[in-house]
């Protein structure tokens, strides 16, 4: 109940702040200490003028497909200024185009070298092409972008988002894994193993990772791996009376989420997995190393007996939290 009241109060404060603000001043982007070298790159050719997208899209049939795709994309409404939304047209990204089309009627092609050389810009400058508008448009998915692993390893928006590939400008769920595997080749190999999450149209990379930056290492969603994993595997969230120490906050102590030769997605096979931290069974009442059948029971799959290994509310017969049925 406390959380509900707290959240309502925050909502109200936010709403009042928004309502009281001067709309025009709030709508603009206000970058702090803009990087003048990048700003100069993104201005475009100073000798050129803006001519409007109709001079590009409607005067040449070669752009028919681009025009159709863009019209039906998430940016589609913004290609015209009539909707009142911020303008996103050809020149918003490619720069003023008057010089590009100056001789197009004779040569039947544009002079692309007079436009902004987007593919040759540094990664940070490439991202700023997009951030110019997305920083004035409230895009919460980019909250962690500037401090993200991708941004700080010179990965730009263009590396994943192909704006002219088709109407789908976000990375499609069907194509996500191939986009990620283009750089993360090792992960492709991990998913090829026998025990794996069902990648391709079922589970996708963005179900666990936030490619725009997350709060956890490896750009994972959530603040602990337990939080990431127990969204789908919530039967293991608990909390339980008897927890498996604090490794339940870190599922990858035992599991490897991409792929493994050990069902279910274990780092190493049992019993070695458990023997790394725990002692094996051997004692007066349990001569577990005496013969093959006993070894089959006590040194095979520990979780056959310790079946509630993720945590339990039920004590064992001895009154301890041994994750054993009874």
């Amino acid at each position: 109940m406390r959380h509900l009241l707290f959240s309502c109060l925050l909502f109200l404060v936010l709403f009042i702040a928004v309502a009281c603000g001067s709309v025009d001043s709030l709508k603009s982007a206000r970058p702090i200490a803009p990087i003048m070298d990048y700003e100069a790159l993104l201005v475009g050719n100073l000798d050129a003028n803006y001519i409007g997208d109709e001079s590009c899209l409607k005067s040449c049939h070669k752009h028919d497909k681009i025009a159709f795709d863009f019209k039906h994309s998430v940016h589609g409404d913004q290609i015209s200024g009539e909707t009142g939304l911020p303008l996103v047209n050809c020149e918003s990204c490619h720069g003023p185009g008057s010089l590009a089309v100056e001789h197009a009627a004779e040569t039947q092609k544009c002079a692309f070298d007079t436009l902004i050389p987007l593919e040759e810009l540094p990664a940070q400058a490439q991202s700023m092409v997009c951030l110019k508008c997305h920083s004035a448009a409230s895009t919460p998915i980019l909250h962690n972008w500037m401090g993200s692993t991708h941004a700080n390893n010179d990965v730009s928006c263009f590396d994943c988002h192909q704006l002219h590939k088709g109407p789908q400008q976000k990375v499609d769920r069907h194509e996500q894994e191939q986009t990620c595997f283009g750089c993360h080749q090792e992960v492709r190999m991990q998913f090829a193993q026998f025990s794996h999450h069902p990648l391709h149209q079922k589970v996708v990379c963005s179900d666990c990772h936030d490619s725009h930056g997350g709060t956890l290492d490896k750009s994972l969603l959530g603040s602990t791996t337990r939080e990431v994993c127990t969204r789908c595997h919530m039967e293991y969230q608990g909390p339980f009376v008897y927890e498996h120490a604090d490794i339940t906050e870190d599922c990858i102590t035992c599991h490897v989420p991409h792929g493994s030769p050990h069902e279910p997605l274990l780092q190493v096979g049992q019993p070695f997995l458990c023997l790394q931290c725990h002692t094996g069974h051997l004692g007066e009442e349990v001569p577990a190393l005496d013969n093959e059948p006993l070894k089959q029971a006590f040194y095979n799959r520990c979780t056959d007996c310790h079946s509630a290994i993720h945590g339990t509310d039920i004590p064992s017969a001895h009154g301890r939290g041994s994750f054993i049925a009874r």
Partner: protein
């Protein structure tokens, strides 16, 4: 809060969320559509109708783990177009009634975005044979120390998972602010194998039975985000609930007098639970030379278990999370990043539980760990030229765990024998990484990256924690040449931990510590190549090698010196994955693709302690390696031929084969063959 209150609150939340959702869906499109309608545009439709035939042999579950293996008609549809006020997208993939995908997106004048997703997937599960009885030679005249019983022999196990997501994002008419609401549902139904033990008086009864799975996870997320000039604000409220609709397993236990009387008891429960979180985020305008963000989240995880055999107050966890990043880019040559992450987990479990049928009415329960974690990270990048980036990063993680320490006590009943967690109270993990990245060709045609990381922990908490670790990563990505390109990467890890020890009580109940020194090496390498020797012909190849070798002191037994053996054991794992394919445009309307793969996986635990004569018998390392050895071979081929009949119609035929083979046992060996014929039309 009583359970009745929680149930009511849950219902209120659900009603509220669904009401808001429907109101938005009903009212906002009308409001958004009051502007001038779109001009009608041509629609794009691509529809595919087909039939898939499936043939299986032996046990196909591991050959195609996520395939329902039903012969059936198939249907695919992709639609994109616009109507009077919205851009519409529909994507349908229907394989059969157990496997389908549906996604719809409606963008109503960029004012309202509505998305609906519904998919079903199938997961085949193993049924491990559980019907062997053991007859240990050590006790020829006594009942077997271990016996096995499968209550449902031969039963097929599988899960059906349904995912549904509905989301709405509404933008205020003349202001960069949005209201968002999302409903997500994850439902699992089916049966799986539950293996458990009854620690009986006469022997250990290992049992297997079918466990009914009927679980629903529902999540409602609502929030607002706004751009307010200098800063952006985001607020989000999340409520997630888990309901286990199946009954808790109940079985007959022989009991182990006097500890547990024989009877029928609940066991292996998956309790209902709840997760709530409120998050507030703020960040300065992106794209500047100075960008800062911060977020705070508070919430709770609550168990809503309802056992009848155990009486107790359910556990809950309160948490607080902080996160902040600062990025300073003074010029194109320098970038400084500072990062902070804070986590405070306050776990509250009951101090005692009452369990029916046990010797003592009430058991004391050890307090769960409270965890406080603070993470600090700083990285500095220097770009002396556009072709080269040098980066240094320092990472420090301070972890504080409560309720840790000594003394521990010998095993006892009713009293807590280990009132504290034998973990370090404070642990500091430090990492230092140096990265060199280079772009030797324009347009990112050739990217090279290498980094080295050194990691330490002053008090590694677990045997698998890293006390000292070295990691080297190398990669190259080449995409310049229209004829060929590729990606290659290699990772080398060398880790050790000599700071972990196990505590035991000897035969005089004196505390004894045993070191568990550990070393681990991991070597991974992968390569992906593509080649286009001529127009219409291309090849691709992917190969990966994943290798891990662990040497660790393993302890067998819990009462030194008579019943404890320590030895440095080795665990090795090696995986080779290979896939290759060719695309060939045979003629203008005819093209084909042929691909194949093979994966070899081997793992073995090699205990090698010498034969020991103990008071109860002879302990040997024989057979242990064979029990845990893994030796798998998976391979498959797929061929597909496409025929573009004319501008609108096309057809395709695809044949595939997948095979799984376990060299150690044929229990799960199997093959799946499929044949898919499709006819498609686009307009």
């Amino acid at each position: 809060m009583f359970k009745g209150e929680r149930t009511l609150l849950r219902k209120l939340h659900r009603c509220l969320a669904l009401s808001v959702l429907f109101c938005l869906a009903a009212v906002l499109p009308l409001h958004a559509a009051m502007d001038q309608p779109f001009a009608e545009d041509p629609h794009q439709i691509d529809a595919i109708l087909g039939y898939r035939g499936v043939s299986i042999s032996d046990a196909p579950e591991r050959a195609r783990e996520y395939d329902s293996l039903i012969s059936s008609p198939t249907f695919d549809l992709v639609y994109r177009g616009s109507c009077s006020y919205s851009e519409n997208f529909i994507d349908i993939h229907y394989l059969n009634e157990k496997d389908y995908y549906l996604e719809t997106d409606f963008n109503i004048r960029s004012r309202l975005r509505f998305r609906f997703l519904n998919e079903r997937l199938y997961h085949a599960l193993d049924h491990l044979p559980y019907d062997t009885a053991s007859e240990p030679e050590a006790r020829p005249d006594a009942p077997p120390l271990v016996d096995y019983l499968d209550h449902n022999p031969g039963k097929d196990y599988h899960l059906q998972v349904d995912q549904t997501e509905v989301s709405l994002r509404y933008k205020l008419p003349d202001f960069p602010a949005h209201a968002n609401i999302k409903y997500w549902r994850w439902e699992k139904k089916g049966t799986k194998q539950l293996r458990f033990v009854d620690e009986g008086c006469t022997s250990c009864h290992m049992q297997s039975r079918s466990l009914q799975i009927d679980q629903v996870t529902e999540e409602v997320t609502a929030g607002v985000d706004a751009h307010l000039g200098l800063i952006d604000l985001v607020f989000e409220q999340l409520v997630r609930t888990f309901r286990n609709k199946a009954d808790t397993p109940v079985d007959s236990f022989e009991g182990a007098a006097p500890l547990l009387t024989s009877g029928v008891y609940q066991h292996d429960d998956s309790p209902d639970s709840r997760f709530t979180q409120s998050t507030l985020k703020a960040h300065t305008t992106l794209g500047g030379g100075f960008v800062a963000n911060a977020s705070v989240a508070v919430g709770q995880r609550e168990s809503d278990a309802s056992l009848t055999d155990v009486i107790y107050d359910t556990a809950k966890t309160d948490f607080r999370k902080l996160a902040s990043d600062v990025t300073y880019i003074p010029s194109t040559k320098w970038t400084l990043n500072l990062r902070y992450r804070g986590l405070d987990l306050d776990q509250d479990n009951p101090s005692s539980v009452e369990s029916t049928g046990t010797l003592h009415e009430s058991f004391a329960v050890r307090d769960s760990l409270d965890i406080e974690r603070n993470l600090y990270e700083a990285s500095l990048s220097y770009r002396p030229s556009p072709l080269l980036t040098l980066k240094g990063k320092y990472h420090r993680e301070d972890i504080h765990r409560s309720n840790t320490g000594e003394p521990v006590q010998p095993n006892g009943f009713a009293n807590i024998s280990d009132p504290y967690w034998e973990l370090p109270e404070d642990e500091t993990i430090q990492k230092m990484r140096m990265t060199v990245s280079s772009r030797l060709l324009p347009k990112n045609a050739l990217k090279l990256q290498s980094w080295y990381e050194y990691q330490t922990s002053d008090s590694p908490a677990y045997a698998t924690s890293i006390e000292v670790g070295h990691t080297l990563f190398l990669s190259a990505i080449y995409r310049h040449n229209p004829f060929w390109g590729g990606t290659i990467s290699a990772r080398f890890k060398n880790q050790k931990n000599n700071g972990y020890r196990s505590s035991l009580f000897d035969e005089e109940n004196a505390l004894v510590y045993v070191n568990r020194d550990r070393k681990q090496k991991q070597h991974n390498a992968s390569i992906g190549l593509w080649l286009t020797p001529q127009e219409g012909l291309s090849f691709d190849l992917n190969y990966g090698y994943l290798s891990s070798c662990i040497e660790q002191d393993i302890l067998y037994g819990q009462t030194p010196p008579s019943y404890a053996i320590q030895d440095q054991e080795e665990y090795q794992q090696r995986i080779h994955t290979l896939s290759a394919g060719v695309n060939w445009q045979i003629s203008q309307p005819l093209s084909c693709r042929l691909e194949g793969y093979q994966i070899r996986s081997k793992a073995e635990f090699s205990p090698d302690f010498p034969t020991e004569v103990l008071p109860v018998g002879v302990a040997t390392a024989d057979d242990l390696e064979e029990i845990s050895r893994v030796n798998l071979l998976q391979h498959g081929v797929k061929g597909r031929i496409n025929w573009q009949i004319n501008e609108e119609w096309r057809a395709s035929l695809e044949l595939s084969l997948d095979d799984y083979e376990d060299k150690e046992s044929d229990q799960f060996d199997g093959t799946v063959e499929t044949c898919v014929f499709n006819i498609a039309r686009a307009w």
